[in-house]
């Protein structure tokens, strides 16, 4: 156990902790000792003061009476039970000292030792200590003295000697106890520390084992990283170290394998330029074993292999150099090789090692020859191609043009090389062309652009140019290669097509291309605009989607008719995207193209035309001045109503009404007032009569009224109400003055027989009107039937 505790890092720690703890303990004891000494002095002073005071109090009476026997007896008795009092001395100024000890007492004459001790005190100090501070002399005493005053007179001095033995042994016991306890506590704490560190010691032992395995080359060991504190961190570091060592070992192994298996010959020269290492591949280059070269100087090595450049290249040690050489083998044959020199820093300062590498470049040489031949073939092919081909370097300058290019431009290759070729670009295309070329070049991206290039006759033709970056076998960008294709004819056709499309888009009529299945294939801009669809939306619709009149079941007949006649013109209607329907006139044209049937329909919006027709029709039925039915329309309506009354045997009446003295109104107030009177009359009629009643102006101031479902009596009431209303109406005149009054006369007739016709009824009513006029006007007369 002892050897286990005091061995290893923890033994190291144990011993030091023990020493530190002990030293610290003793240091503390030293401090405590001083303190204890001080305190003991203070205690002695207090004890001395107390004892001296009590002793003096007990003996002062005896002292006063000179009863020294009682004093001695008292003091000896006290000292018997107070072992730490060595002596008590009463000394007076005459030099007499009464010295009392526990076992004896005496009288000393002519001794002023204790007297002086007490009386030489400063006034402020009531005691003196003799031999104080020398604590470690147990044989000595320290003395407390105080003056004795009796009746106000200084009698002498009382001195009390205290044994240091008791203090000495008490502090000795204290020191012994503290030391023993300290040592015991130290040993116990160390043992507990030893026990409590079992786990970490075990972990450290594991780490030591792992480190030993590492030193033995076992690089796959793994330390516990979850160990305590720094041990865990140490484990982590060891694992990292083992991984790093393993990685480097693997890499070193790979490097050795590479060096041994590579086809390149490695020759390592030390700092004195003597061969210290060769690999097996050197045999292939020299025909000699590697051991042959060991210790050979650089010069000898160069001469032997006919490497004249070797010594010169070795002069510059800081730069890796290489060159192609022909190595002479032992049989005097040669091998094409790349000679490469690498300076390798050694651990020592100064000149480092030199590595000479010989790489077989026979294949590369063959490849170069092959490449040259390939280049030739490429140029032959490119020159024979009908397209214009150019090649540019990484500096953006064109380095080669094929013969087709040269022939087209009529310029020499030298003129075109570099940036000379840009002189043939059309001025309008120049800027765009160069921007595309430059930006693509910078981004190393393929590009395609169209521009005009001048030919040898000075004419410009359109070309499409496609450029691709050139990357060599090592992945390096080496420039661009481009090819131009003549697209002049296509450009012309496109121009024509754009013109046609422009024309269609700007035509006054909507144009639709429809197939035989009524699908819309295309439409011009006006059609899209009129219907509210985009072209893309429109081509997804059929005719039924835009033509509300169109019936799908009639499409086949319609298509057949169109096919037979070639074209059809008819009216229909179109529905816009927002649901509005407008009338159209359609001219459908049938044609076939590339085996397919098409209908090219020209559609015209005839909304205005239809509106005009409606207006004309309405003007024929309505009286312009009064808004009532015109005479013709009234006649048509009267025939209809009469027929209905006869058919359903329902009553029917007709009123004929005329403005009284209308001629005088015109003559007096003018036609404008006359017209106003007529408008007012029409207004009164519409207010009095029903909606089913038909009112017509059949002459200048003559009106006719049809009253369906109205018999004679009812018609009389209506006529009277109408007459009364007119008579009560006042027409204000714009010129001022009294408002104008006017009246009407009304003739009334009712249907009496199914044989009556409108002519008869008109005549009868007209007669009744005439009668009303003759009988004084402003009245209603019923026709006699």
């Amino acid at each position: 156990m002892f050897s286990r505790i005091f061995s290893g890092i923890f033994g190291h720690f144990f011993l030091r902790a023990f020493v530190i703890q002990s030293a610290l303990g003793f240091a503390i004891l030293a401090v405590v000792l001083s303190l204890f000494n001080f305190v003991s002095d203070r205690m002695a002073v207090e004890q001395g003061r107390t004892f001296a005071n009590s002793t003096l109090a007990a003996t002062i009476d005896a002292l006063y009476k000179n009863e020294y026997g009682n004093i001695v007896d008292y003091c000896m008795g006290i000292m018997k039970n107070t072992p730490n009092i060595d002596f008590i001395v009463y000394s007076n100024k005459n030099g007499t000292e009464l010295l009392i000890k526990p076992e004896r007492w005496s009288i000393e004459e002519k001794s002023l030792h204790y007297y002086r001790l007490g009386f030489e005190l400063p006034e402020w100090q009531a005691y003196a200590l003799e031999d104080a501070g020398r604590f470690f002399n147990p044989a000595s005493s320290f003395v407390f003295s105080r003056p004795i005053v009796i009746g106000g007179q200084q009698w002498g001095v009382l001195s009390v000697g205290f044994s240091k033995k008791a203090y000495f042994y008490s502090i000795l016991e204290f020191y012994f106890s503290v030391t023993a306890l300290g040592i015991a506590a130290g040993l116990i704490s160390l043992y507990l520390f030893f026990i409590s560190t079992r786990r970490i010691r075990s972990q450290l032992a594991d780490l030591e084992g792992i480190a030993r395995k590492l030193s033995e080359g076992q690089l796959t060991v793994h330390a516990k990283e979850s160990s305590i504190g720094e041990v865990g961190l140490l484990g982590t570091s060891i694992n990292a170290m083992s991984r790093a060592l393993k990685e480097k070992s693997d890499r070193l192994e790979q490097l050795v394998r590479v060096v041994e298996q590579t086809d390149d010959a490695f020759v390592l020269f030390d700092d004195t330029r003597h061969v210290i290492f060769t690999n097996d591949a050197l045999v292939k280059f020299t025909g000699r074993p590697g051991s042959f070269f060991m210790g050979m100087t650089l010069t000898e090595f160069g001469h032997l292999l006919n490497l004249s450049e070797l010594e010169r290249m070795s002069q510059d040690q800081l730069v890796t150099q290489c060159c192609d050489v022909a190595v002479t083998k032992m049989d005097q044959s040669t091998v094409d090789a790349e000679l490469r020199l690498e300076s390798i820093s050694s651990d020592k300062a100064g000149i480092g090692y030199l590595l000479v590498v010989l790489s077989d470049i026979t294949d590369r040489k063959l490849a170069e020859i092959s490449l040259q031949e390939s280049e030739k073939r490429f140029r032959s092919l490119a020159n024979a191609a009908p397209t214009l081909i150019w090649v540019a370097g990484a500096d953006k300058l064109c380095s080669w043009f094929n013969n087709t290019w040269v022939s087209y431009t009529g310029r020499s290759l030298e003129q075109e090389i570099g940036n000379g070729w840009t002189e043939g670009i059309h001025p309008d295309d120049f800027t765009r062309c160069l921007e595309t070329y430059t930006s693509s070049f910078d981004a190393r991206l393929p590009f395609s652009m169209e521009y005009r290039l001048r030919n040898h006759q000075g004419e410009y033709r359109w070309f499409i140019e496609v450029g691709r970056p050139r990357i060599d076998e090592n992945g390096n960008f080496v420039g661009y290669i481009g090819m131009l294709t003549d697209i002049n004819d296509r450009k012309m056709m496109e121009q024509t097509m754009r013109l046609a499309q422009f024309s269609l888009d700007n035509a006054d009529e909507e144009i639709f291309w429809i197939n035989s299945e009524a699908r819309i294939l295309d439409a011009n801009s006006l059609a899209c605009k009129a219907l509210g669809y985009s072209k893309e939306e429109l081509v997804r619709l059929s005719v039924a989607d835009i033509d509300p009149v169109f019936l799908s079941e009639n499409w086949a007949d319609h298509w057949q008719e169109l096919k037979e006649k070639g074209s059809l013109r008819f009216e229909s209607a179109h529905r816009t995207r927002d649901g509005r329907v407008y009338p159209t006139e359609i001219l459908a044209n049938y044609f076939e193209y590339e085996g397919h049937e098409y209908n090219c329909a020209f559609v015209r919006d005839i909304t205005e035309h239809k509106q005009l027709e409606e207006d004309l029709k309405r003007q024929a039925h309505i009286d312009f001045l009064t808004g009532l039915c015109s005479r013709g329309h009234f006649m048509e309506q009267s025939e209809v109503e009469l027929s209905r009354a006869i058919r359903y045997q329902s009553p029917f009446s007709l009123l004929m009404m005329d403005v009284d003295f209308f001629k005088q109104v015109n003559d007096t107030h003018g036609h404008k007032v006359g017209d106003y009177v007529l408008k007012k009359l029409a207004e009164i009629c519409r207010s009095i009569l029903r909606d089913v009643d038909v009112i017509g102006r059949i002459g200048g101031e003559e009106f006719a009224i049809l009253l369906p479902e109205t018999d004679k009596d009812e018609a009389i009431d209506v006529a009277e109400r109408l007459r009364g209303a007119v008579a009560n109406e006042k027409v204000p005149l714009s010129a001022g003055g009294l408002p104008l009054h006017f009246t009407v006369s009304i003739g009334l007739v009712s249907l009496a027989s199914k044989d009556d016709n409108m002519d008869v009824l008109f005549n009868l009513a007209d007669k009744a009107l005439y009668e009303a006029k003759n009988s004084g006007r402003n009245r209603v007369c019923v026709a006699e039937q």
Partner: protein
């Protein structure tokens, strides 16, 4: 309390108990009660004596069926009254106190044994050498110091004076000073507070050990024959077995640490039984004193002189 004096008193008291214990009467509870007076205690108090001795005796008899307790009376007269009333089973004290009740006490008497002198002690009269007094008669009108409890020493000195036809102490000496103990009495003489004192021989030896200057400055002018100064016994009616048990237990007191310590205070080394012959010399002394006292002494120095001396002492 003066420790030394207390311990000395304890020793004396213990001596008396030891002397008296064999004669203790058996009580219903086997408790034997011994009595003494403060005259026999010298400088200790009644309570201290009782507590010290009872504790010591309890320890000595802890394995016995007997229990021995002491009781201290203020005066000899009260001691005798208690004894006469049968309230105590034995008596201890000086020879002066012992002999008047000797007839009622048993034969087994115990006394302190001193180193070198056995159970007997000599009394010595001590004066300052410088005073030049060589005989007791030369001490007339001198000051004497007597310690408390020295009744037997006073008997000896009075006998000595009476033999020379001199008056007894109060009249022979100009001043009689009391002291706490014989040692103080000797120091009184040494410091000239007194002119003469009488102490036991071992007490004088002890004092000179404490201060050899005393041996040089003080001188013995009279020395008695050896006497047993104090003794004690139980009543006669206590059975022999009980008395023997008590005696054996008390003899073993010196074997205990406490007992040895208490006895050592008075240079005593043992508790021993004494014979009638051992008591005879002190008995003869008492008898002689009584017989001499019966003859009127010659006229002493005038009373006026003695009174003057007392007054002078008080003034000082």
């Amino acid at each position: 309390m003066n420790e030394k004096l207390m311990r000395s008193s304890v020793v004396s008291l213990f001596l008396l108990i030891a002397v008296a214990s064999p004669a203790l009467a058996e009580t219903a509870k086997n408790t034997i009660l011994m009595g003494g007076s403060t005259n026999g205690l010298r400088n200790t108090t009644q309570q201290d004596a009782e507590i010290t001795f009872n504790t010591l005796l309890d320890d000595a008899l802890k394995n016995s069926d007997l229990k021995l307790n002491i009781v201290v009376f203020p005066t000899t007269e009260e001691l005798y009254a208690a004894f006469d009333r049968g309230e105590i089973d034995g008596l201890f004290g000086s020879a002066v106190e012992y002999f008047p009740r000797e007839d009622e006490l048993g034969e087994d008497t115990m006394a302190l044994g001193f180193k070198g002198t056995g159970v007997k002690q000599r009394f010595v009269v001590v004066v300052r050498r410088a005073d030049g007094a060589a005989q007791i008669a030369a001490l007339k009108n001198k000051r004497i110091t007597l310690a408390r409890g020295q009744d037997i020493e006073a008997v000896f000195l009075n006998t000595l004076l009476l033999r020379q036809k001199l008056p007894e102490i109060p009249k022979f000496f100009s001043e009689v000073r009391d002291s706490k103990n014989p040692n103080v009495a000797l120091m009184d003489v040494f410091f000239a507070k007194s002119d003469v004192t009488i102490v036991r021989e071992n007490e004088f030896a002890t004092a000179t050990e404490l201060n050899p200057q005393l041996g040089k400055n003080l001188v013995i002018i009279e020395k008695s024959e050896p006497y047993v100064p104090a003794m004690g016994s139980v009543r006669k009616n206590l059975t022999k077995g009980k008395v023997t048990e008590l005696v054996n237990a008390l003899k073993k007191i010196y074997g205990t640490e406490t007992g040895k310590k208490v006895l050592s205070y008075s240079q005593a080394v043992s508790l021993e039984t004494i014979t009638r012959e051992d008591k005879q010399s002190i008995r003869d002394l008492v008898i002689e004193y009584r017989s001499l006292k019966a003859v009127p002494p010659p006229p002493a120095a005038s009373t006026a002189q003695a009174t003057k001396a007392r007054v002078r002492k008080n003034v000082q």
